[in-house]
Structures are given as structure tokens and as C-alpha cells.
Amino acid sequence: MVTAALGESDLHRRAWDAAARVVDPEIPVLTIADLGVLREVTVTGDGVEVAITPTYSGCPAMNMITLEIELALERAGFAKPKIRTVLSPAWTTDWMSEDGRRKLREYGIAPPQAAGSRRALFGVQEVACPQCGSTNTELLSEFGSTSCKALWRCKACREPFDYFKCH
């Protein structure tokens, strides 16, 4: 293995970088690191193990993400990587990076509001339009094209848009 000559921390860095570049198949501007789905990378004598956490219980993108991580690590020189799913602590949109939020907005999806708390779940939501920035918006549908999105409309610029649900 080419990696044998490298030190442990270099190996860890290489494995993390490879896994962290994997993107969400539904929202290809976000990496799994931006999303907070990538939790941990462990390099041991036997190989590499990656811990990821699912966003929604039934999110079909998780199977694809698992496969993509395996491929990315194999391409980086790690044979037979192990992918482990951890449920606890449960994923929350609070783990999404600032950079990820910016990328989402530029892509045309309103990023989740901070503090994925119970109160926010039942409280009045103020979501800014990712196109024009107006907060004069309305909810069209609590559910959207994927588990993580709701459908909104801007009353200022009239554009419909996806909102990444606070979770």
C-alpha cells in the first residue's frame, strides 16, 4: 500500500480529506463535511473506518453517500474502508457549517435557521428568499422534493424556492 510510508496523522488527514470531499447526491454543492454528516475518521493498522450520521431516518441518499465514501477512500489508497453509521447524538441542522449555509443560498436553497430546537419547530418561521433576500415569503408545502426540504414562495420576487428544514 502506498500509504504505508506515511505517518499516522498524515494518513488520517488524507483519509479525512478524501471522505470530506464526497458530496450530497441531492444537493451537489454541499459536501458531507459541510452537512455535518461526516462525524469521525479513524485510521488503524487494519485500515480506515469512517463514522457518518444519517440526516433523516429514511433518507435514500445515505446509501449513495456510503458508496461514494468507499470509492473515495479506495481512490486515496485505502483498501476496504469500513463505514459505520452512528445514530447518537442525532444529526441536527445546527451542525451545518457557515460555509455550507452560504453555498446553499447561492445554489438557490434557503439555509436552515439556527438552533434546531423544539421551539423553532412549532414557532413562526421567518425564511429569507435565497434569490432576493426578502423575508416577505410564504410556506407552500411542509414537504418538498427530498426529506430535508420544504417548499416556499417569495412574495416580493415571486420565485418559488426550496427551504432546507430546520431539524
Binding site: 444519517p54 433523516y56 431516518s57 429514511g58 433518507c59 435514500p60 445514530l87 447518537s88 447524538p89 442525532a90 444529526w91 434546531g116 423544539r118 419547530l121 412549532f122 407552500l140 408545502s141 411542509e142 414537504f143 418538498g144 422534493s145 426529506s147 417548499l151 428544514k165 431539524h167
Partner: protein, 258 residues
């Protein structure tokens, strides 16, 4: 050739987990029957999304039941290769969709319970159950908000929507008691802090249900006779029909993959 049913060694914990997994699978399957048939596009997406959340919860629970049982069963075998009498879901979950009002009332009664149930289960002494609960509780809260809004809109809507929603409430009411029932197999788990007595959730559930139903100008039935049996495998005739569709591929072509 038809695939035979599996045998399940139902220790109290395996049974407990299977009961919750079956609730999620069967209700999720019912909701998936709406796909392409919902009254509007937004609701088509909503029902499919809720079904997906429930299916995800079912998979986590089945995987855990398989691990606890340790007899080589897995999530697919639990779903596809158990006969109707081996299913342990609430009778409420298997009731046919009927019209949209019936589907929403069934969902509302269940989600109002699931929201409280998962929140309480986050404190379970069983780390896996607590972790599954922490994910499911957020999803259930969202489902509850969705169905509550529909109950108000339908009840306080037209004469027709009011009448249909009231009829659904009257019919499904007798299935709500099963959610709060406990049998001997669960008492040890309750003592160990793995499970808890759901009777303690009843008042809070009633409070939520009563306030939404009042806002919807609907009324709760006065009778408190409750139908039970699902937890012990005694189901309504509807579950067998549901399973014949859900299981047909794996029963006809055992082990088929694609």
C-alpha cells in the same frame, strides 16, 4: 415456490422492539399507497415523505431487533417473511386509508402519541433505543404539526369535510386505547428503565388531541370501550391484504435482489 415464514424468538426486548417497528412499517406502507393518488401534489409529497421517515424508523428498529435476537434474521426477513399473526403493530396503523380525512385522523392520533412516545424513550436505559428515539422524535413532531393543521382545516372547513372528519374520529377512536396498553412482557422492561408505562402519556395526549379537535369544531366520542389485539397478533382482516401486497415479491421469488 413460496418462501416460508421465519421463526422469531420473541424475548421481551425483541417483542418490544418489533411492536414499534411494525407500527412504523405498516403505517408507512399505508401512507405509501397514496403515492400518485393524493388530492394535490403537495400532499402527495407530504405523505410519501412521512412514509419514508416511518420506513427509516422501521429499518433502524428491525435491525436492532435482529441484533438482540441474534438468530440470523434481518430487517428484510422481519418485514417480508412473517405471517399476519406474527405482526405486532397497533390495529390503528393497519386500518385502510379511506378518504383523505380518514388518513389524516389516523395519522393525527398516531403522531400525537408517537411524538410523546419518542420523546420519553430518549431517556431509555437502552442506548440504541434512546438513539433511535432522538432521531424519530424530531420527525414525529413535524408529522404531528402537518396532520394537526389538516384536522383543523377539514373540521372547520365545509359541511362535507367536517362530516367526513367527524366520521373518521368516531370510527378510529376505539383503536386509540391500544397505544397506552401494557402487557406482562413489557413489565420487566419498564422496571429496568428500558421501556416506560405509556399510560403516563395518556393525559398529555388527550390534552393535545382535545385542543386540536376543539379548534377544528369537532367532538371526541364519549364512549371509552377500546379495541385491542394487534400487539398479540390478533389483527383486523385488513392486515393480511396489506401484507399480500407488501410481501408478494419476496414470497414468490425468495431472496430476490436487484
Amino acid at each position: 415456490m413460496s418462501a416460508p415464514s421465519i421463526k422469531v424468538q420473541e424475548t421481551p426486548l425483541v417483542l418490544y422492539v418489533l411492536r414499534r417497528a411494525d407500527d412504523a412499517l405498516i403505517l408507512g406502507h399505508r401512507l405509501s399507497e397514496w403515492c400518485g393518488h393524493a388530492p394535490m401534489l403537495e400532499e402527495d409529497m407530504a405523505l410519501a415523505n412521512i412514509a419514508l421517515d416511518l420506513l427509516g424508523q422501521a429499518r433502524e428498529l428491525y435491525a436492532y431487533a435482529a441484533k438482540v435476537e441474534g438468530k440470523g434474521n434481518d430487517e428484510d426477513k422481519f418485514a417480508y417473511l412473517r405471517d399476519v399473526r406474527q405482526y405486532r403493530n397497533l390495529l390503528l396503523a393497519e386500518q385502510p386509508n379511506g378518504d383523505f380525512a380518514r388518513t389524516m385522523v389516523r395519522q393525527f392520533f398516531y403522531s400525537a402519541f408517537a411524538d410523546l412516545y419518542w420523546r420519553a424513550t430518549m431517556k431509555s436505559a437502552d442506548a440504541t433505543l434512546a438513539a433511535i428515539a432522538a432521531k424519530s422524535e424530531k420527525e414525529s413532531a413535524y408529522h404531528l404539526r402537518h396532520s394537526s393543521e389538516w384536522i383543523v382545516r377539514l373540521g372547520d372547513g365545509t359541511e362535507e369535510s367536517h362530516a367526513r372528519t367527524q366520521a373518521a374520529i368516531d370510527e378510529f377512536w376505539a383503536f386509540t386505547g391500544e397505544m397506552f396498553a401494557v402487557d406482562d412482557s413489557e413489565r420487566g422492561l419498564i422496571e429496568a428503565g428500558v421501556a416506560f408505562d405509556p399510560a403516563g402519556l395518556k393525559q398529555q395526549w388527550l390534552k393535545t388531541v382535545t385542543s386540536v379537535i376543539a379548534e377544528a369544531t369537532l367532538i371526541l366520542p364519549k364512549n371509552d370501550w377500546m379495541q385491542q389485539g394487534g400487539r398479540a397478533g390478533r389483527h383486523s382482516e385488513h392486515l393480511g391484504h396489506l401484507l399480500s401486497e407488501l410481501q408478494s415479491l419476496q414470497r414468490s421469488f425468495p431472496g430476490a435482489t436487484w
